[in-house]
């Protein structure tokens, strides 16, 4: 028999979220948003429980999770790195900066390093176009980032480990 392993407090929390939305299958996307806010990501176990609580198939839940780019099944790193790919940042070389992060961390966009330290994402405009290209790590914003700066940014957080 297949089984799902999850800590009891997490299961309770998830059931509370479903209940808040009256276990209504029409609220699936809202439930998933709330669940991702709580857990940081949506592992298979979480999707199984949401399916059970809302009385829909887990295939349907995974269909929704894998369709919308906002949802992720990969846990974010301790230091989530986001590179702005908005127009201003892009024309000032954000893509090269992103490529350098990908190369040095050896992960793709949307992935997390195996040690769980860093995850990599792109986003659209943080409203600091004057500082383009912009990189954020957790809440900290780095402006006018050049390809040569990338190594230093990563080292700064590695030393905290």
């Amino acid at each position: 028999m297949a089984s799902i392993k999850l800590a009891p407090s997490k299961v309770e929390k998830l059931k509370e979220i479903c209940k808040k939305f009256n276990n209504d299958k029409g609220e699936l996307i809202n439930v998933l948003h709330a669940a991702q806010e709580t857990f940081g990501y949506l592992p298979a176990e979480v999707q199984e429980i949401v399916a059970e609580e809302l009385n829909v198939s887990v295939a349907h839940v995974h269909g929704v999770v894998s369709f919308y780019s906002f949802f992720t099944m990969i846990p974010k790193g301790e230091y989530p790195i986001s590179i702005c790919m908005g127009t201003a940042c892009y024309v000032r070389g954000a893509e090269k900066v992103l490529d350098e992060f990908k190369k040095l961390l050896n992960i793709k966009v949307g992935e997390t390093t195996p040690d769980g330290a860093f995850s990599l994402n792109s986003l659209r405009c943080v409203g600091a176009c004057g500082l383009a290209p912009v990189v954020t790590v957790k809440e900290k914003v780095y402006g006018r980032v050049a390809v040569e700066d990338v190594k230093g940014i990563i080292e700064e957080y590695k030393s905290l480990e």
């Binding site: 028999m1 297949a2 089984s3 799902i4 392993k5 999850l6 800590a7 009891p8 299961v11 298979a44 176990e45 999707q47 199984e48 429980i49 059970e52 829909v56 198939s57 887990v58 295939a59 349907h60 839940v61 995974h62 269909g63 894998s66 369709f67």
Partner: protein
């Protein structure tokens, strides 16, 4: 109802308001090509995503081509279904689909029966003008069904069968854009999912993306092994459909030719699952009478209605979806498994061979039977009661490989003792048949009277859910029938709510019962074919000299020489089983 007049290709058409252009054209004999679109009459199957754009037509006054499956008719509409612009659009669509499709037609299981291939040929595609990335996915080789997602064209027919018709919920569209695919959650293998292996996804797949697991080579290996005695059993629905693979009209019975073909292929004994169906009636019928008698004596604990248990897709369904009701179905094994158990005990003893030296092959209209044969509880010390299960389609393949001219084969009869059957055994192949067979025997066993009229027309038909009350000499027995798992779910929910008025319910997973099984020749959307097979089954029943299971002389002999009483100790050991809760459990650490 408002009537609408329109013109399609210079033909005047009058239809009811709300009719689509596609249906209006069909009503005057104009077949607009379709690909994703599929509606199965008299069932809940309706797949009209309007996604493939193959059915586009030109409508006078409209700038864009219109998908005819999604476009309702308007009064005075002028429709052209094959202008150069339309044909060009269809060819472009087809080329784009093929640009991301493997060119494996020569070795594809579906070749010659593939809707995509047929349409590409009809459109005269000889060159693909588009080149680009080809999608790759994780494949899946589960015991009954093989998924080859590279061949998927995202028509969503399988998803409709799995979710809307069968309410199983295994398949869903995952991901998006170029990477999208229909698969079980997290792309897990089907045998790790809640799949029932009913095979209805395979029945409607227009390409080779969903096919049966091919076991024909295992059969050939067994036949080639001189140490093995190879025994074959054929399910009732196979004889009513096999002929279609050789160009016969749907509903042509080919029982005799099939027997000859099996002998020529090299099976040592050609037996009939219908014999085991008669045996099932003895066990299931006795069990039903036992439960009824307890109930009539005021036993409140007794579980009624009793549900039939011959259909492995249905067994999987309740194990996954209704695990709180495991004590309601009959404990009788399916005819396939009863046959295996008797062949490897009673018959092996008669031949004086070890059970390990016998190979039991079953020919089934079904993909779930492959899964059922592999269930660990149906084996003794690792030796399965049924070694290999193949489908009607695979048998046709074997006959063709053996260069047998099917048309020229003479009719022959099954071997004895496990090839003798009654009309009651034959009708197991159609919805309503199992319960009719049970009624024929249970009536006589309960009342002690001779049943004059053995045809119970009130139990026959094609409606998804049917019911009838049969008079057992003053005792009214309420019978329910469902085919298609979505219909079964409705009856089960009634039982859960305590509202069910039935004493016995027959359930079959596929539309029409086994005649519409996932291993049968493809119907390509024509449900009329299933109805013709059904007619053929009743025709075979009517032509049988014995039509009640308990009157089968070889069944009587089997009980006398070997089993003792129906539902007795030996019968329980060999012919009954139990069920398992397969619902995923959430383990809290």
């Amino acid at each position: 109802m408002d009537k609408i007049k329109l013109t399609i290709d210079d033909t005047q058409v009058v239809v009811e308001k709300g009719t689509t252009v596609l249906d209006a054209a069909k009503s005057v004999g104009i077949d607009i090509p379709t690909l994703c679109y599929l509606k199965l009459e008299d069932t809940a199957f309706e797949n009209t995503p309007g996604g493939c754009r193959m059915c586009v037509v030109e409508v006078d006054g409209r700038r864009n081509l219109a998908p005819s499956c999604k476009t309702p008719c308007d009064d005075g509409m002028l429709v052209k279904t094959h202008t150069p612009r339309v044909v060009n659009a269809r060819r472009t669509v087809m080329e784009l689909i093929l640009s991301d499709h493997p060119f494996e037609c020569l070795v594809c299981t579906k070749s010659g029966k593939c809707d995509l291939q047929t349409l590409a040929q009809d459109l005269g595609i000889r060159e693909i003008h588009y080149e680009g990335e080809k999608s790759t996915y994780k494949g899946d080789e589960s015991p009954g069904i093989v998924r080859e997602p590279e061949k998927c064209i995202m028509c969503r027919r399988c998803e409709t069968a799995c979710n809307d018709v069968q309410t199983v919920g295994t398949l869903s569209a995952l991901y998006r854009g170029f990477g999208s695919i229909v698969a079980p959650a997290f792309e897990m293998d089907l045998d790790h999912s809640n799949c029932t292996f009913c095979g209805q996804c395979v029945s409607v797949c227009p390409t080779g993306a969903l096919i049966e697991r091919d076991n024909t080579w295992k059969v050939i290996e067994a036949i080639m092994n001189p140490k093995k005695t190879v025994v074959v059993q054929t399910a009732p629905a196979v004889r009513a459909a096999l002929g279609e693979e050789f160009g016969y009209d749907a509903g042509t019975l080919v029982t005799g030719k099939m027997v000859t073909a099996l002998r020529k292929i090299g099976f040592d004994y050609v037996f009939d699952t219908d014999f085991a169906a008669d045996l099932t009636i003895m066990e299931e019928g006795t069990e039903l009478l036992g439960r009824l008698n307890k109930y009539l004596k005021g036993d409140k604990e007794v579980k009624l209605p009793m549900l039939t248990s011959c259909c492995p897709g249905w067994v999987n369904f309740f194990e996954y979806h209704f695990p709180d009701m495991l004590d309601i179905p009959s404990t009788a094994k399916s005819p396939q498994q009863m046959f295996g158990a008797i062949a490897k005990s009673y018959f092996a003893e008669q031949l004086n061979i070890k059970r390990e030296d016998m190979v039991v092959v079953s020919v089934m209209p079904c993909l779930a039977k492959k899964y059922e044969a592999a269930r660990p509880e149906f084996a003794v010390n690792g030796d399965p009661d049924v070694n290999v299960s193949i489908t009607t389609r695979e048998l046709a393949q074997m006959i063709k490989s053996a260069n047998l001219n099917f048309d020229a084969l003479k009719d022959d009869d099954f071997d004895r003792p496990l090839g003798e059957s009654t009309g009651a055994g034959v009708i197991f192949g159609t919805t309503g048949g199992v319960i009719e067979a049970a009624v024929r025997s249970a009536y006589e066993l309960h009342t002690g009277k001779n049943l004059e009229k053995v045809d119970f027309h009130e139990l026959r038909g094609f409606d998804g859910i049917r019911s009838a009350t049969i008079d057992f000499d003053g005792l009214p027995i309420n019978i329910g029938i469902a085919h298609g798992l979505g219909n079964a779910r409705k009856l089960l929910e009634e039982i859960q709510e305590g509202k069910s008025q039935f004493h016995a319910i027959e359930i079959m997973a596929c539309p029409g019962g086994c005649i519409g099984g996932g291993g049968q020749p493809y119907h390509h959307g024509d449900i009329g074919i299933l109805k013709k097979r059904q007619k053929a089954i009743y025709q075979e029943d009517a032509g049988k000299p014995i039509r009640k299971s308990h009157e089968n002389p070889y069944i009587q002999k089997l009980y006398k020489e070997y089993l003792g009483e129906p539902c007795g100790e030996k019968s329980h050991e060999l012919l009954h089983t139990n069920y398992f809760d397969k619902k995923k459990k959430i383990v809290i650490e």
